[in-house]
Symmetry: C2
Subunit: 454 residues, 2 copies
């Protein structure tokens, strides 16, 4: 019997879906099937299962594979699964994680279980995990790998290589080699590649470069975003006295960036990030990630009812005006969203800073005017033909006004959020839409009153 990877995974999904309890007779069959596909497909399979089924798969895998699969899961998903596993499995999985991954998992667990897990480690592992736990959430220190090589500037290339070779089993990476003085102050950096191709007998001191490094207290996202433009594989992390205490490796940096991008993406849609794969997220977690935002937005939208209420007499005299309400508020919302999305992403990537607020405002005002003029002329022509010139004039000028205002507001809001220390993405698209709705309606009725003489 030869099955393709997709067929094997499909068969496994079917067996898992058939019930929460696996038929004991099925277990050996599943075990055999699970041995076939490459590890990345098993990870993808587990990512799609709820905690109960994920635990079943982990128990059926070989020891080595199950540890690798558990390691590849998101911390929130790991935490969900832990309840379904026996203690001995849990301790073993936890022990096999890198110190910084242990800390991410601990952050997702109730204090009591976290304590128990931490105590299950042997002393050296407890200590090294404690170093990472000592730094605040959101800092680089909390995500760094605390295991670093001991390479001193006084060594020769050969001594350094020999030391790396001995220490390698305990290190997360040996490809970026930080160089320290005897007092552990960071003085340089070399790549393993450079050490590897250097002439035997040369001094590390003479070959090392100026290090690019970060302080443990620094913002994790900002630091992680350096990796891409600078082609970094790992970044030395130092304490306040410039002493080497860890390395931020590229995979942890990429994790940080992905988490932040997921969060920004979620918030731009007015929801909270799930922290774990969609298919394995319980339904109530989905509801919880959305309900707060939705309520806040609905309550703010009462503003639009208020605005319309105050123009009710105008509406009664010209019901035709109500026909354009969704079109106009929609266009305002869209223009605002475009600007907010662009600027929020630029802030995340570090392309725009707080001090750019006036420049961004001026740019967005002009962009909004150009967009508004284009739409306004079109709106004027269409509304004039279908209704009359007066309505055409109202729609055209309202579009110009709404687009200019919305682009400006949409562009500036994310920066203002950052200035007051909030996440730029909290002024999410839905939030900006709601604001632009209300402001747009006011513009609309003022123009309508003036042009139609109501």
């Amino acid at each position: 019997m030869t099955m393709s990877v997709d067929e094997t995974i499909g068969a496994l999904e079917l067996m898992l879906r058939s019930g929460s309890d696996i038929d004991p007779e099925d277990a050996p069959k599943m075990q055999a099937l699970l041995d076939e596909p490459p590890i990345q497909d098993v990870v993808a399979l587990v990512e799609r299962q709820n905690p109960v089924r994920a635990a079943v798969v982990l128990r059926l895998l070989s020891r080595e594979k199950s540890i690798a699969v558990f390691d590849a899961l998101d911390a929130a998903h790991q935490a969900d699964i832990i309840d379904e596993l026996g203690n001995s499995d849990v301790y073993e999985f936890f022990d096999a994680l890198e110190p910084e991954d242990r800390v991410s998992l601990l952050d997702e667990l109730p204090a009591e279980i976290a304590d128990r897990l931490l105590r299950s480690l042997d002393k050296p592992d407890q200590d090294i995990t404690g170093v990472v736990l000592g730094y605040p959430k959101g800092s680089v220190g909390r995500r760094m790998s605390p295991e670093v090589p001991d390479i001193y500037r006084e060594m020769t290339v050969d001594e350094a290589l020999e030391k790396l070779r001995r220490e390698a089993p305990d290190l997360e990476t040996i490809y970026t080699v930080p160089i320290v003085r005897k007092d552990r102050r960071l003085v340089g950096v070399m790549s393993l590649r450079e050490l590897f191709i250097a002439k035997s007998g040369r001094m590390v001191e003479d070959l090392m470069h100026e290090p690019i490094y970060a302080y443990a207290q620094a913002d994790a996202e900002e630091t992680a975003r350096w990796f891409l433009p600078l082609d970094l594989l790992a970044l030395p992390i130092v304490d306040d006295s410039d002493r080497l205490i860890g390395l931020l490796t590229w995979d942890d940096a990429a994790d940080i960036v992905e988490e932040e991008d997921s969060e920004d993406s979620a918030r731009s849609g007015g929801t909270e990030a799930l922290q774990q794969p969609y298919m394995s997220t319980p339904l109530l977690k989905l509801v919880r990630s959305r309900i707060v935002w939705l309520l806040v937005l609905a309550v703010s939208a009462i503003l639009t009812v208020k605005v319309l209420d105050s123009f009710e007499s105008v509406l009664e005299q010209a019901v035709v005006l109500s026909l354009f309400i969704p079109l106009l508020t929609g266009t305002g919302g869209n223009t605002g969203n475009q600007a907010a999305t662009t600027v929020t992403r630029a802030l995340a990537l570090g392309d725009v800073r707080k001090s750019d607020v006036l420049q961004v405002m001026w740019r967005e005002m002009r962009v909004g005017m150009l967009l508004g003029a284009t739409l306004g002329i079109l709106g004027f022509i269409i509304a004039s033909l279908v209704y009359d010139m007066h309505i055409g004039l109202v729609i055209g000028t309202t579009l110009l006004g709404i687009c200019t205002l919305s682009a400006t507001v949409g562009g500036v809001m994310p920066i203002l959020a950052k200035v007051v220390g909030a996440d730029p993405a909290v002024f999410s698209n839905p939030f900006i839409s709601t604001f632009c709705d209300a402001a747009g309606l006011i513009i609309y009725f003022f123009i309508a009153r003036a042009v139609l003489g109501l």
Copy 2:
């Protein structure tokens, strides 16, 4: 005079902003200032400048630094700057790029200039760049590094290390070592770390692992997303006959992921991605990235005018109904956006697949009903108190209906887009809003007609 990095960069920004022509007397001063900050700050400075000013900075930097800075820029920004640089600079920068980065830049340039640049390379570089150019845009082959080591399974660890040492200067990475047979078919992979700590005299064949690899024709984004869960540093790329032809390195994979995330983020806001930093993007490029979407959305929004037009008699009899239009359409849009954002991100990360469409629909329907019930009860109470029970009933049931519909539609649309081969993010938030607006209005007026007996 000692200045902090921020002060130095600030002074440079001021000098650059003072005019497009740099005072000849200022040049040595700027040159001195540019020598101070670390390279990542110079990159950030250049990323914020328009092409003219960016070229000024590049010319003032030392040869080595200017090459590193140019290398770190986005391809679209590089292409903008090329017009402002002298030919000899351009050729030198182009020559210093990795083959796959050259191809990304060529993609951004007019054919004529691209040709000229390609011909400026020496023959071996032309050939190696040609390998990458031979694969279609969006494929892994187009982004791989075509320079691979020649390590055969019959070698000993020592022979392999010696060969790597010799070939290193020509290779982009030596940390992931693909192992081939004599006919160049990929048979295994080892990390440099494993080779490095292996016992002298052992055979590569006995130490290598099953390779994780990708075909050159495979989708670049999908492949790049494997790196994070699998902790890959580089991935061997093979042709249709399983022969090794390149390596996708982690930095190029991270580039691909960032581009795709930027594109998804932009489209979720109803705009096109900028491909280069916001502050250096010309104003008209900003307008162009938004106008098409805005027009499409405005034209679709005419649908809402049509819907309202057909209920005009209802509106005339109960103007109060028009007050709730923005609130109801807004809430529908928000619920739809939440679902669409979540599912689009899940598709991008590979957590949801096309075949999950029914499961996602069923999940989102239930989530939408729960959200709608919560909002509906609140809406019923508030509207009953402020207006009357009949209006309360209309608002409450409409909210329930709109939320259920919007979440279902918002969740399913991105998957349907993928099924027909489009980018899931084309059903962006604004697009879903517009659809939910029109559908919500129909629900609203049918319920209103029934309850109020109009």
